[in-house]
Symmetry: D3
Subunit: 286 residues, 6 copies
């Protein structure tokens, strides 16, 4: 169960309105790697954790914090939308191309749909989708995804920091960047714990002898040129310590050409006789 307090986790106030930037900031609120994503992802991972304990608790701690980030970003966006130019006055536009550009660069739904409020969408207007998230029941798999989300997320917030020259915006972003630093460290720490218990290949519980071990440490060079041979993945012991990396410069198929049986007539696929009746053979080939 949750409780809410009205204070923000961190101040969230721009120096001045900027509706074009409001549109861009939506990316880290409602985009693929935004705050809604991590809030919902950690929430479902936590709620689905089978067995009690510190991982479940930690996931719900951080999920709960991420909802506070949703709140901060929504507040910031609403304030960036103050005084947005909503009238399309021909004169103004004709005489003031900067106003015209601002109106072109805004998300029109910030006026028409949300009435100058934040929306659960990304910077081009795609609504947030729950399949941005994963909760698989396997915590090592999920923590790796969490680390990915925090890495992409911090990268995007940093880019938004670079784009802005508003001190209020930058101050709030510097807080989110720091939290993403923590969260990358946090998932790295949790991953290290789990890897030390389970090993590094997910899932660790599948008997290794059941996989086709001949190709478990083989790098296939499917792109002409061998630059890829220069990486750590191409030689030396494998990262899981169970094998040696091999580099196959000219990979060959293990399987035959496939031939699919005809479909039954009731499916009305192209008939075998039509497929077979191939008479347009030019003289120089047949």
């Amino acid at each position: 169960m949750f409780y809410h307090i009205k204070e923000l986790q961190y101040p969230s106030k721009p120096d001045r309105p900027d509706p074009v930037y409001a549109r861009k900031l939506q990316e880290v609120l409602g985009g693929h790697f935004g705050e809604i994503t991590v809030a919902m992802q950690y929430l479902f991972q936590g709620l689905n954790t089978r067995g009690d304990g510190k991982y479940r608790d930690m996931l719900l701690d951080t999920a709960t914090e991420e909802f506070a980030h949703v709140e901060m970003l929504a507040t910031m966006i609403a304030r960036l939308l103050d005084h947005a130019p909503v009238k399309e006055q021909e004169q103004a536009v004709a005489h003031n191309p900067v106003v015209a550009a601002v109106m072109g660069g805004m998300n029109p739904q910030h006026v028409i749909v949300s009435g100058l409020g934040a929306m659960p969408v990304d910077s081009v207007g795609n609504p947030w989708r729950a399949d941005y998230t994963i909760a698989s029941g396997n915590l090592l798999a999920d923590f790796r995804d969490n680390l990915s989300k925090e890495s992409q997320g911090r990268l995007q917030v940093v880019r938004l920091y670079e784009i802005s020259d508003d001190r209020g915006v930058k101050d709030m972003l510097s807080f989110l960047i720091a939290r993403d630093t923590m969260h990358q460290n946090q998932w790295l720490a949790a991953i290290a714990e789990l890897e030390s218990k389970e090993g590094i290949v997910v899932p660790s519980t599948f008997p290794r002898e059941l996989e086709k071990q001949q190709v478990s440490y083989t790098f296939f060079n499917f792109s002409r040129g061998e630059e890829s041979a220069r990486g750590r993945w191409a030689h030396g012991p494998s990262m899981d310590g169970c094998g040696m990396f091999q580099y196959v410069a000219q990979p060959q198929p293990f399987g035959p050409k496939p031939f699919l049986n005809p479909a039954p007539p009731s499916v009305h696929d192209t008939l075998p006789i039509v497929l077979r009746n191939e008479t347009n053979l030019p003289p120089h080939i047949g």
Copy 2:
């Protein structure tokens, strides 16, 4: 530029048809963590890599291999759909509930839409979407996502292996599982290389003094109970070696209650006067 050969990377033939399993196997072809996802993700990461070299080459090598896995799975699914019961014969169904169950468990689009062919969809029929993928220009961020994709992917293939009792299916899955073993090792190796050059916090190029460093290593316990204090993330040196983890058992807000300015009348939000005119105060509170 690409070339195709008709042979499969690995044989892909079930012992017997099984249209219900065909539906399930779609997950690792067209689902969030399926082969289309990794093929397209590595392709775009490779094509967007600025600067030539081994990472670009390696990404395109592996992208190219993943399209061969798309081919193997599509072939397997088409074969699992051979002889699918497509007629809804009342008698058969009434007298043979297993046939009825099979028809209930199939994806009806495998008959109606694809004519017994594989589709670029997941196991419940959601079409594959390109926003399952990411190519950010920052390879460390992206390789972490690649590791996540291969971890979730191997987990799903292993679950499909457990569900099946068809030797042909299991043989092919054992190949995919082995390749996912390699690819987890591969991304771990590439990540290790990049982390050794750049450090572990993504992006490494953002000046650390610009982030709000007071909270860069702080764990906030937002969920009542302190089980989360028992993790590596709650004490000791941070994973990036730049700080010490701190555990805040009772986190407090840094920011004030927000107050948003009224919207201009032309937006037709609820008027401030309506919001302010709050007279329904019961006697015991006012």
Copy 3:
């Protein structure tokens, strides 16, 4: 900012597992009218409310409660998935058609993707989408949508109650049904307050003389037959008290046939000359 406690708002435990029902129950967790929808809708409405006061507070109170319902449903679904039949053992299926039917009626992603956990999807597997929600800045408009969401939501929970014969499930649903009773009453009360201040037509702030008032209270009978004349909407004073309903039995157009100008050649639409050159006139028509 939010806090979490580990206790559930209400007990959430089925008498016995039932993976087919787990799939169905997803509808009110991750469907269009499920708990994620109301939680996120009230959250964004609250955060975007310009001006402080009771409406903002009330919205955030109820948003916060809805996240507790998300938690209850996720817990219930995870428990319904205990002991789900995940092996497709040919013998079992052949000899036990009920098991086969159960496997056909489950969501296969509950095994393959979530590892027996709840997912943010509906009962057919569509991921939750943020455009299920609305926060417009106009509270009367939004509260009407809230009332709609709670009406559809209670209807769906009631249908799920009827379908089930599990006492644990029914007990939890009886709690959600009661809360939806409250929430319908709550939005009706809030709507009554706002309507008494503003009037009933949204938005109330648009000057009525600017709308085409001749058709502001007219019912057009576009479907042959006049059964629709028997409704309250077809006669008597309008609900807003500003006009009289009129019934137009045979509506006629107010506008002319449209004629669109040709596109410029650089757009490569079909050329006007091709559109105009219409020579295939049969003798009996020309």
Copy 4:
């Protein structure tokens, strides 16, 4: 069955082209609350009404009218796109920033995809989706959603009216605004009829004694601060006349902490032993 006549329900001609406004106007054609939504929603509600009579007839009357609004908006958008600047001539842009701004503010698909025609998309380019609509079989629930759709719809059309300074556009919008006035009145009238027959809680047919009545009229204050106590929903008789509103200032959980059973090994979730083996306890906590 339907018939079409070529005349428009109302004239639909702008004074001058304006491709940036064309993009914005798409919102009320193909957006969540646009004319396609109400047309399709009323159509499916009408077609699914079980039992003949005035409600079915009325729904199909109004559905049919909404398709005429689709036609008017499509025509208007096509005309606003006349003479759109489709050439990206560097000079023109460099010397005429207003042209540059116009090109930035347009929907590029209006040139590339539709060849200067209207599209079934919203103002940021999201394609219309059928899950914007609902037809539940319960008319009171559905009419409440219809009222919501007409409220949001009129709000958006009014905002678009405010933004424009084109007399032709405003004239057409004044017609749509008036029709939305009627349709809000219409659904209010129909709702009043049904509520007088059934009661106000949807669905009215579920036995009230089966719901957890202790919480059917309780407002839970989950957000610190008691501003929400000042509303009509917090005290006095409930709107359905069956109870008294109660305000719970400090809500407590009714349920215990949940504990989920471990998953079977074949699912390859994190093993219970790994979850339990929690040794990283710092000295000051254990």
Copy 5:
């Protein structure tokens, strides 16, 4: 503007209910190639046709008919849902596996969401989307898509005909199949008209000398083996009569290896120095 009459274009009544078939029939109502698609596609093509005349009229004629097919299918689906088993009575299921299979094969939303009504979704529950449609302003391009839609559509209806053994269903489908026969003929006739005026390559208005004519009639054999040389596309005069088909058995690239410039530091992509510093060269390669 549209009018509606209550009679159906063709009778639409099954001999007996069949909720599993109702789910499947949804494909041709709300699927990619269903009746909503063609209704909306022809409607937008008609409304966007610049210039009056027979094509615009014909498009709107047929659009209007397709809405009658939407009506017929919605009616049929509602009737197939009569008496659907909505109670999950454990006994019934345990003792009657056919009932269990029926419940597994139904779309659960037909009970929970639509209350036994048709929905604008396909046979696996994906909501209809407007980007299934195209209206490009170029009628030859669009009529080819219309022909494609009617071809896939008739194929799907035929497959549904084969699956059914209900005389009422089959009778209605035989009507839809015949209309699709007409519509394939209709678009073929319209295409023939336009091709005779414009030529067959769309768009016909682009100066042929501006395209890279060396490859305008070349078939590239990118897949090892030359079976593809046996087709009409590989030799002889081209279909547009402007060139000769050529078959290139071993296609070579025309372009160089691409090299992308580094990104500016403010974007925080992987730094050039990190990409360049490639030291892991194994002895046997460097």
Copy 6:
């Protein structure tokens, strides 16, 4: 199985960067009719072809080429994004409205998400979706869709050619236009082959006597006015040579008014008694 070489099929280098054009060019990479669509569509059609032979080979040849076009477009877009203005420097914008317009016209995700790389999205940012594609098992149906895709595709590329004044961009587009010329010719050739073997109505294998032949060649004029009578589809022999087109100027329904049975009480639809109890009859109608 696939192989990759690093050379591009055709040079892909703009004369100068242009981030606004980069956004537009995305349409033919990741839009409905872009290169990803044809690559994936031909790939799945090829892999699902039951029976070996030239059609399967030809499909895979051309699928493989289309991935080279994906590569060319991604490369071009990355280069167009070089030196994009990513800093929102107030001064620059205030003094240089063209820079402001450029920033308004860009896709902000090209900076924030992809770090100046191409994305698998269209020109307004919708992610590519696999349901843009079809592979039905019936090659004539599918080749018609392929022809449609190449027609819309060439139309869009031509429009993008018209918009640009960059010689490098236009050179690459002239190559793609030529390839689309070939591919339209190719599918026309393949269609001609199949039609000569099967006939023109898809599917050709359904017994014509089972369709309702009275309406197999009838054009229904559902839109007032008879301009549509002037087309080839309205008179003369049908295109398939099996009948004569007929023009029905005033189409009448073949079916009765539908009446749907009431739903069972457990579904909680509006009760029949409520639907029937229709007392609001005004005096002048009853």
